[in-house]
Symmetry: C2
DNA sequence: ACGGTTAGTCGAAACGCTTCGACAACCGCG
DNA sequence: CGCGGTTGTCGAAGCGTTTCGACTAACCGT
């Protein structure tokens, strides 16, 4: 546990000089710098994070605030985390993942000056955490968006573009009767961003193709997926494709299809939205999916945050990233419908290649 | 940003008195305490974590070191985390989840005195992180076990007990030909604890019932599961039950069974080991599973760690927790075999209730 | 040769807390 | 009544950095 003092003595310079070598806050001659670095090396010196934090009023810690419910982190969320961690580490910052459920806990973290800034995951449309942190004067970047984003920095998935691509993929395959299985009705009325935005995007995309948009909400569980499938078949018996925005429900949907003797993708094509490769390949057949740019999202969020913190650059970073279409085994040409609406392949457009 | 000084002045006491009120390190009269608390309240005082850490040489931060691979955190691992976070928060500590992949990064965290202690997840049999942290003098508790656990504190799943219960459940249902699908061969030869321990436990449990243990390794993917099923059927065509220790492979196995026209649980029963409720219910039918005591594991680990850190109590906490059997739809009486070995139900024992 | 920069270094004062030694006031006990 | 022992409080000395002002020595253009 060598201190700066020890280094200074060994290098025969003053403590402040050692500090300047470390921080680069003032110019230091090459000769001195070398002496100091050598001393550090021989003493195996590591700066004390607490002392540094106290003196500089900067903890060099940024928090990634994730509500951890019992459901666990999907591979998607994990990708946020790894991306964020890599970006922080590269900048010499520590990333602490705080599973704050408790708002007070969060407030404590913030006002104890332990966090230089924070990235918020799973942002709700009305998110009290945003206010709490702003009040505490903690720089903030969101992954996701609140309802009113004025003055806020965020990175989010470009749901509009993503849904458009997914629909285009199905339409290209000849599907006309496409059902969208969303999150729960409760989530939608609560204004949960991804649910609302994809709904709107779906309606827009389908309308753009001259098709009728059918949306079914589903609870986040296999059972919810089964129920949704039943509802979907009731509402659109002639459906040939399902677009699913619900990683849990999708397994129920697949199970339900099998039970009904409907094969994927022969009878029904399935596309999963905002899904990780890992999950997509769990299913049989592997799911055609829109893969979320998870780690990029995390990285970009932290980079933007650090720019806030250090005062470098824009205080207002707002960016959307699309998911990439990855075609696997769960989508194929529309078949069931051929008998019903043979010869109506009249829309060969709309299959723009994935942006980036 | 009121400081202790401000509080002291407002309460007309000395700074040290305020500190004692906060830490309880020395007795303070009720009258004084009240004055101080009142002052804190009116000033909305929050102690500065850095200053406190510097002066006391204790950061009040413990790390939960989790290797975050691209696979993401299962619900099981997430339960560790939430359990640990709750325990830490209850003790007034912060839990920082560090996705350290990098050993150097870990070493840095440790020697910068930023961590009072650490809980290691996903411990390998030979885990260099253990040595690195011990060297840095950071108190340590493992979730999982290294090969040599002398002098180490750990909490782990009681694989022996868990496998015994799972096997007993199947045997009770009349199954005689049970195949165990483990992690990959590579994981086993690498000595990955859960893989090795469950293998041994399985052999012991089957032998105890006078049955032949058949084990098949499987890659951690749906495809790996399919391959394993093929191998299993080749090696034991008359199998009536599969015990699976591989959350990813199990979906492949289920798919493979369906493809072969084998129904679960009519033809083949399936038990998933060390699985979370969430995942178990994703499958159709929902999986009978040994549910891991995830959040308890996390909680106990942190509690033990904090005892190390504060010097209270045993420096050497070693504890095993069993998984609980949760019967769902994927297991049923042995049927296929009835024709082959009718009337050999000779072992009605071994179905002890979960030890909890 | 001269004031004015600038590069390089130092000493000392923070930063906001904990903790130690000291001390006064009070306790019960012989 | 005097004694050791608590109890409650205070002041001051750190904890290991950063950062500011000051100082020296070289360097600039003139």
């Amino acid at each position: 546990m060598a201190t700066m003092h020890d280094v200074a003595r060994l290098a025969r310079v003053s403590v402040s000089t050692v500090s300047y070598v470390l921080t680069g806050a003032r110019p230091i001659s090459q000769a001195t710098r070398d002496k100091v670095l050598a001393a550090m090396a021989t003493l195996d010196y590591q700066p004390n994070a607490m002392a540094r934090g106290l003196a500089s009023r900067r903890s060099r810690i940024v928090g990634l605030l994730m509500p951890m419910d019992e459901r666990g982190l999907g591979a998607t969320e994990t990708a946020f985390v790894t991306g964020a961690a890599a970006a922080a580490s590269a900048a010499g910052y520590h990333l602490i993942l705080s599973p704050v459920g408790d708002l007070d806990d969060l407030r404590r973290l913030a006002s104890q000056r332990m966090l230089d800034g924070a990235v918020l995951m799973e942002v709700q449309v009305e998110d009290e955490r945003v206010g709490a942190l702003q009040e505490a004067g903690v720089p903030l970047v969101l992954i996701g968006r609140t309802g009113d984003t004025t003055g806020l920095s965020y990175v989010d998935i470009d749901f509009d573009q993503t849904v458009r691509e997914a629909v285009a993929h199905l339409v290209d395959l000849g599907h006309r009767r496409i059902v969208y299985v969303n999150h729960s009705a409760a989530a939608i009325t609560a204004g949960y961003g991804p649910a609302v935005r994809t709904r709107d995007a779906f309606v827009a995309a389908m309308s753009g193709h001259g098709l009728e948009p059918v949306m079914i909400p589903a609870e986040d569980s296999a059972a919810g997926g089964r129920a949704a499938l039943t509802a979907a078949l009731a509402q659109a018996p002639d459906l040939t494709a399902v677009l699913v925005m619900n990683e849990n429900a999708i397994f129920g949907i697949l199970g339900g299809l099998t039970d009904r003797g409907l094969a994927v993708p022969r009878d029904v094509s399935v596309v999963s939205m905002v899904t990780s490769t890992q999950v997509a390949e769990l299913a049989t057949p592997a799911l055609t999916a829109m893969t979320s740019p998870g780690s990029a999202l995390g990285r970009i969020a932290v980079e933007a945050l650090l720019r806030h913190v250090t005062g470098t650059g824009d205080d207002n970073h707002q960016q959307l990233l699309p998911c990439a279409l990855e075609v696997r085994g769960s989508t194929g040409p529309a078949a069931r419908m051929v008998a019903v609406s043979a010869g109506d392949r009249d829309d060969p457009t709309g299959s723009g290649p994935p942006g980036s």
